[in-house]
């Protein structure tokens, strides 16, 4: 601990010990504990105590009967535990009987302070830190802490209850660290007393008729098997698994959720899953006993396991698919589809039992679809993957939701009544449908997929969120549709679909709901990005009203829509898909050029999103050598940088640096070593090839922009600028021109100006800079140092422990006013 902090600590301790002084807040105390933790982890706690007797004083003070704030009491308990984690310090504290008085019956445990959850939590956390060595175990046994922890498992505060459970796991692990580790065959009867006590408590809880107690026991076991993979866990499981199996015989199965967690935790444990302790049988039994809603997460967990018997996997998959099988059954789908989903011979479940009410039906279907979506991309997913039936079921669900399915059975009718217009199921099904695009399907099913997607995209009843998902799924399906051999155009079916889709898109772009316009534009941008170069797509798009409408949306009242319109128009223009201006139908004649329009948005739009989008489009245009830019690149870059440098949004300024970097690379060229076959432009003849190369950068005032950004109040901008200048300096280093030393006074004045900028006075512009001056300034600047400073977090000064201590003292007025750190 540095001397400054040591000096402040006694004052702080007396503030904390004084019940009349209010402590700032919990976060200060948390930070203080963090600080002590780093100190105790790095060095001796005993030494810390000896060097700072005020700490011991604070802890002793807690023992006096007084009106202490629960916060400070909790803090002290945690601090004591943290210090006692080291055995020598533990012994030291034991000498003064401090620990039993803090954590035993005589401590806050019996007092009024115990009613505060923070004190109970502090007590548990203190013990948790303390329990690191065998002496601690004896201490715990002596002070009867374990019984208290048992009772805290049912605490009214969930945090306390959960921490109590975890502490039990920790103590169990600690007590078995020595004895059982050495003798894996040691039976529980030979375990240390403390461990036996905990195991008996768990057994008792598992036998209890009260669900909360069973839940507590299951949670403790779940944590144990999840965190500890020592051989003794196997002994424990062998002893407890019959009790767990007994739970399955009850109807309904108590604490099913926790039971599923436990079984999955056991199955994931490398020690337990490899042994033959009846785990797979228990899992199979559980799958068949739990209700469909409870069994879903278990089935998913089983299917995610790396190693697992095939039969169990099949059973789990059948459970997972049950709701979809029901849907197919109720809507009397082709029997072929049904067989492959229900191939495991499980008792077929009817809609009435599985999907009895609207809420149950919606919940179960959403969960099932989400589970399958998670499973689909995994390598260990069931094989063969029933792609076709899944597609069939998902399409059917979507049709039931939209009311377009015509079920013939009563069960189908009920299902239809439950699902019609249900946005939650629609969203889940569309997400899953999108995921299914990764696989193939029979042609007629794919046709059905496109038909149902079109139905959703067309329907006026599709809610904005559903529509967004429908757009996303559509793009994924189009992306996965096979390309026509020979050319990379869309296949004829997709083209046909596109022909039907494109008339829908204008309507969506005119929607009064901005979310719909926005997702329509996003979809369009994706489509152009993917197929903008393909003839079929281009023809269809140009024949529609979409390009014109997109451009009109640049003036949309909603900023998100404007931003998306900017991106879409930029794409359209890049691909040469912009509508030709001044057609006879537009007697307005002179249409503003898109570049001018985007520049107008960049300089005048009141919202950040459209301006950021413009910067992205411009950067892309510059990169691609867009026709509007290539004509006069320098003028373009100069204009954009000028506007961007004044922007209030840091992302716009950062994107300006990105654009500057592209320009820089294009002007200076990549180092020739990177690209041996590139045609190297002939290096301009002396007197000054460097000057020649840098001149365009100077003309567009790139340096002024970059230097200004270097001292930007937003760190990402400054960092980016620093990187750019470092890159530039590296580039110029390879040039061996004259070092521009002839212009010393100008260099000095630039440096002076930059210093003023750094100090916050950025009023005065630099004006035109000669290349030699720039190089000289760059070489004289400590860019590496600046980069290092920027890499540190901005609150590094305020985060220091000294500042923390000063702060805490300042809030209670224990420091003189002039010393207060008022950042």
């Amino acid at each position: 601990m540095d001397p400054e902090c040591s000096q402040l600590l006694p004052a702080l301790c007396s503030v904390l010990a004084d019940p009349r002084q209010p402590v700032a807040d919990d976060t200060c105390l948390e930070k203080l504990l963090d600080w002590f933790k780093t100190i105790t982890e790095a060095g001796s706690s005993l030494l810390l105590l000896q060097e700072n007797p005020c700490l011991l004083g604070l802890l002793c003070h807690m023992l006096k009967p007084q009106d202490l704030s629960p916060r400070v009491l909790a803090f002290s308990l945690r601090l004591a535990g943290m210090l006692a984690a080291q055995e020598d310090c533990f012994q030291y504290l034991q000498q003064g009987e401090l620990l039993p008085r803090l954590f035993g019956e005589a401590g806050p445990l019996g007092g009024a302070a115990w009613t505060a959850p923070s004190v109970r939590s502090g007590w548990i956390q203190g013990l948790r830190s303390l329990a690191r060595h065998p002496s601690a175990l004896c201490f715990l046994a002596d002070c009867g802490a374990v019984d208290t922890i048992f009772s805290l498992q049912g605490d009214s505060s969930l945090f306390v209850a959960s921490a109590a459970g975890q502490l039990l796991v920790h103590i169990l692990g600690l007590s078995l660290q020595g004895p059982a580790e050495g003798h894996p065959g040691l039976q529980t009867g030979d375990w240390p007393v403390c461990a036996q006590k905990i195991v008996s408590h768990i057994e008792e809880s598992l036998r209890s008729a009260a669900t909360p107690q069973i839940t507590q026991a299951l949670n403790v076991l779940t944590t144990t098997f999840g965190h500890c993979h020592s051989p003794w866990t196997q002994v424990l499981w062998v002893r407890l698994s019959p009790l767990v199996a007994c739970l399955l015989e009850k109807d309904p199965v108590p604490a099913a959720h926790s039971l599923v967690d436990l079984l999955l935790s056991v199955a994931r444990s490398p020690v337990l899953s490899s042994s033959s302790c009846g785990l797979w049988e228990t899992l199979a039994q559980t799958l068949s006993h739990l209700s469909p809603t409870q069994a879903g997460p278990l089935a998913l967990g089983i299917l995610k396991l790396q190693e697992c018997p095939q039969a169990l996997r099949a059973q789990a998959f059948a459970v997972l698919l049950q709701p979809l099988t029901c849907v197919l059954e109720a809507t009397a789908q082709a029997p072929g589809l049904l067989d492959s989903l229900d191939g495991t011979g499980g008792a077929s479940v009817t809609v009435d039992t599985l999907l009895p009410s609207k809420a149950a039906c919606v919940g179960l279907l959403c969960r099932t679809l989400a589970h399958l979506e998670l499973l689909q991309p995994l390598p260990q997913r069931p094989s063969p993957w029933p792609q076709a039936p899944l597609l069939g079921a998902t399409v059917t669900i979507l049709r039931l939701c939209s009311g377009s399915a015509t079920p013939t059975s009563d069960a189908g009718g009920h299902l239809c009544a439950f699902l019609v217009g249900c946005v939650r199921v629609q969203r889940a099904a569309l997400d899953f449908l999108g995921t299914l695009s990764q696989g193939t399907g029979p042609r007629e099913l794919v046709t059905q997929v496109f038909a149902v997607l079109l139905e959703y995209l067309t329907s006026p009843d599709s809610s904005p969120t559903v529509l967004k998902k429908a757009f996303q799924a559509t793009f994924r399906w189009l992306q996965s549709s096979p390309e026509t051999p020979g050319c990379s155009d869309l296949d004829p079916h997709a083209q046909l679909f596109l022909r039907e889709l494109l008339p829908v898109l204008p309507k969506r772009l005119c929607s009064p709901c901005w979310e719909v316009r926005d997702s329509g534009l996003e979809f369009l941008t994706q489509m152009i990005g993917r197929w903008g170069g393909q003839a079929g797509f281009r023809r269809a798009l140009l024949a529609s009203e979409v390009p014109e409408l997109t451009e009109q949306l640049l003036r949309d009242p909603e900023s998100y829509v404007r931003a998306s319109a900017v991106a879409a128009t930029g794409q359209l223009s890049s691909q040469g898909l912009r509508v030709t201006p001044a057609s006879p139908e537009h007697p307005g004649g002179q249409q503003k050029s898109l570049l001018a329009e985007l520049l107008h948005i960049l300089s005048t739009d009141s919202e950040g999103f459209p301006r950021r989008a413009v910067m992205h489009v411009f950067t892309q245009w510059l990169r691609d050598g867009h026709a509007d830019v290539a004509g006069d690149t320098e003028r373009f870059v100069a204009r954009v940088l000028q506007v961007a440098s004044q922007d209030l949004d840091w992302e716009v300024r950062a994107q300006g640096l990105e654009l500057a970097l592209v320009f820089l690379e294009q002007t200076l060229g990549r180092p020739s070593s990177h690209c041996p076959y590139a045609v190297t432009p002939p290096v301009a003849a002396p007197p000054s090839p460097l000057a020649q190369a840098l001149r365009p950068l100077c003309r567009v005032q790139l340096f002024e922009f970059a230097f200004r950004a270097l001292f930007d109040c937003d760190r990402p901008v400054a960092q980016k600028s620093c990187d750019l200048l470092l890159f530039l300096r590296a580039q110029t280093a390879s040039y061996s021109g004259p070092q521009g030393s002839g212009n010393v006074p100008e260099v000095a004045s630039v440096e002076a100006a930059l210093q003023r900028w750094q100090a916050g006075d950025q009023g005065q512009p630099l004006g035109y800079l000669e290349p030699e001056v720039v190089v000289a300034v760059l070489r004289s600047m400590d860019l590496e140092g600046l980069r290092g400073a920027l890499a540190e977090s901005s609150d590094r000064v305020e985060k220091s422990p000294q500042s923390l201590l000063q702060d805490m003292l300042a809030t209670v007025g224990a420091l003189g006013e002039d010393e207060a750190d008022c950042y």
Binding site: G403, P407, G413, C416, A417, Q552, E558
Partner: protein, 669 residues
């Protein structure tokens, strides 16, 4: 105090005069009152007629006459053919509610729930001998008047010499093609009423406010409640002291311009008559408004005109409000919006003055003060212009492309006919149907072939079936009565079990010309007791908290009120036959035997019997009580809940002994 009507059978009946679920006309006989609930006018009959063009239309006047298959052309003056459909070339006629099912002159009151449901009022009040009162809220009356005025105006301004009647002959109608062949009760179809009849009908209306209680002959009380569907629209509660009937007609739970629906007051109804649900249960109004706006923008952007056939009040206010928010974002600020109706001006102005009938948001605007509806601003900025007719100012202001709102939604009369003829030929133009009352395909039939685009965006804010099922769960009526259309899925979507009313017990359904006996028995009637009679009562407490007293009184009933009056003093017999005769009617006032109460505990009774020397006692349980058998004495004591019989053979002494024993266990007063 209440009277128990033990054997009174149901005397509540519902006479169903209209089969149209959203244009209801029912008569409720409840206690001694006859109440008509709404009188909607089914105008779908006009779809069988040729449109009435405001300006001579060569196309319409040159349509070929229709002839029978055998070439017989005797109907060719009356019936014209257009694109395979046959239309009556005559003044349009309306299908009236049933007038034969019940003598309408006996109707005491008519309760109107909203302005769409009063369009048949003149037919009822002016031609049936009706002498009662009509109750409605002020906006209902004012806007209803506008609707009627518009209707009369539309029809009267295009006088048609011809009135076809030949085709109505039953034998001839059989030979006609559908839908004319299947049209029901064509003989009762009537021409439109006159403005004079409208005025006379409206003069019979008495204005009411929400939650106002109106006494009808002392027998029942009726109360209008906000129904959330239109300005001043109401549901009605009809109740007596012990019975409550709710009449729900045209209600909405959506947040549009009217005051929200009052659901709480509908609770605890014995019967809930449910009519006026959405006609398009599969279309969500929000989605339809979106569709409306998008299609409007797309058409106008392409240089086309948009025609919106509509009523002059109602959804148009909400549409204008949506457009107000939308036109700037869609770049339509320069497009003129025209609202053409003989009552356009009054409708737009009325909407702004009925502040107390508006939703909360709009009410608060009034205090700012701002006009509650933003169409005021549209008018101020010249974006929305309104005209009584397309003649006059409109023709000089008219600029295209534009959006025109005009009536009538049936496309059979009104200025809309002209615009259909004018714009129908160009595929750039679009007609957008927003009113759900008419099938848009049937409405368009006489305009075929048609090049203009047709978009169907029916906006019906009335309750859908999901909302109904929530409402019924909330208010829990004992019985639900509704049109038969609501008790099964729509014929075109027979699998949609969600598109019907699902309640327990199942709803009772009605159809046109049916009489329903409503399933509830009147069990109690409230009786007042005169103070002096009450004074004379001497209650005796028979159980803690329960006191009884016997009353001898005369029950006096007048105007459905029942009063217990003290019996007249017995007059001294002063001779004279007349007097004596009068006193015969006076109830017998001599002192009565005491009344008994309580029950006989069998075990204790048996013990008491034993104590009094009876032996050989047997007790048998029966369905209604017990039989105590005194075998020696050959005597039977039958103890039941409300009677005790002692059966012994001519031993009066024994009987009296036993009786006294029994009486010891009972309380007397």
């Amino acid at each position: 105090m209440c009277l128990v009507l033990s054997n009174q059978k149901s005397n509540m009946k519902l006479y169903c005069l209209s089969g149209h679920p959203t244009l209801p006309c029912n008569v409720l006989k409840f206690k001694s009152t006859t109440i008509m609930l709404d009188c909607g006018l089914d105008m779908t009959s006009t779809l069988n007629f040729l449109p009435l063009p405001l300006v001579q239309s060569p196309r319409l006047s040159n349509l070929p006459g229709w002839s029978l298959k055998d070439g017989n052309a005797f109907l060719d003056k009356e019936l014209k053919e257009c694109s395979g459909h046959v239309f009556v070339d005559s003044v349009p006629e309306f299908c009236l509610p049933e007038t034969e099912l019940i003598d309408l002159s006996t109707v005491d009151v008519i309760l109107i729930s909203n302005y769409h449901c009063m369009m048949a009022l003149p037919y009822i009040t002016e031609h049936t001998g009706f002498t009662g009162t009509v109750y409605a809220t002020e906006p209902t009356v004012q806007i209803g008047r506008l609707l009627m005025e518009e209707l009369v105006n539309f029809i009267e301004r295009v006088p048609k010499a011809q009135s076809a009647s030949l085709w109505k002959n039953k034998d001839i109608q059989r030979l006609l093609p559908s839908p004319l062949k299947d049209a029901v009760e064509v003989s009762t179809w009537r021409r439109c009423y006159t403005m004079q009849e409208v005025n006379s009908a409206l003069s019979k209306i008495q204005l009411v406010g929400y939650s106002q209680k109106i006494e009808l002959f002392g027998a029942v009380q009726v109360t209008p409640l906000s129904s959330g569907y239109a300005l001043g629209s109401s549901n009605w509660i009809i109740q007596s002291h012990y019975e409550k009937v709710s009449y729900v007609s045209g209600s909405s739970l959506l947040t549009t311009h009217p005051q929200p629906m009052d659901q709480a007051s509908l609770k605890n109804s014995d019967v809930l008559v449910l009519t006026g649900l959405t006609q398009i249960p599969t279309a969500n109004p929000d989605g339809m408004v979106g569709e409306f706006c998008s299609n409007l923008a797309l058409t106008v952007r392409n240089g086309g005109n948009v025609l919106v056939p509509c009523y002059p009040s109602g959804v148009i206010y909400d549409l204008l409000e949506c457009l107000y928010q939308y036109i700037d974002s869609a770049g339509l600020s320069n497009i003129p919006f025209y609202f053409i109706s003989p009552v356009a001006n009054s409708s737009l102005e009325f909407s702004q003055i009925f502040a107390e009938w508006l939703c909360h948001n709009k009410q608060t605007k009034v205090y700012l003060p701002e006009p509650p509806f933003p169409h005021a601003e549209l008018i101020q900025t010249n974006k929305l212009k309104h005209y009584p007719s397309l003649h006059g100012d409109f023709s000089s202001d008219f600029r295209q492309p534009c959006v025109v709102f005009t009536g009538h939604p049936s496309l059979r009369f009104g200025d809309v006919v002209h615009f259909m003829e004018l714009w129908g030929k160009s595929s750039l133009n679009t007609v957008i149907f927003t009113e759900p009352d008419f099938s848009y395909l049937e409405a368009l039939a006489p305009y075929q072939p048609l090049a203009m685009k047709c978009i169907y965006c029916p906006i019906d804010t009335r309750l859908n079936f999901i909302q109904v099922s929530k409402l019924l769960k909330e208010v829990q009526p004992l019985h639900v009565v509704c049109p038969e259309q609501y008790t099964q899925p729509p014929p075109a979507q027979s699998h949609r079990m969600d598109l019907m009313i699902d309640c327990q017990p199942p709803a009772m359904s009605y159809r046109r010309a049916e009489v329903l006996a409503l399933p509830f028995k009147r069990r109690y009637e409230k009786i007042e007791i005169m103070p002096e009679l009450a004074d004379s009562l001497v209650p005796m407490e028979i159980k803690p908290g329960i006191s009884l007293a016997t009353v001898s009184a005369v029950l006096h009933t007048k105007d459905n009120k029942h009063v217990l009056q003290p019996p007249p003093r017995p007059t001294q017999p002063t001779g004279g036959k007349k007097r004596k005769r009068a006193s015969d009617d006076i109830p017998d006032c001599k002192v009565l035997k005491p009344l008994l109460s309580g029950s006989i505990p069998v075990e204790q009774f048996v013990q008491a019997l034993e104590k009094h020397g009876f032996s050989d006692i047997k007790v048998e349980d029966t369905a209604k009580g017990h039989i105590v058998l005194l075998q020696e004495a050959e005597t039977l004591i039958q103890i039941e809940e409300d009677s005790t019989h002692i059966i012994c053979d001519n031993d009066e002494m024994l009987r009296v002994r036993l009786r006294d024993l029994v009486l010891k266990f009972l309380q007397k007063f």
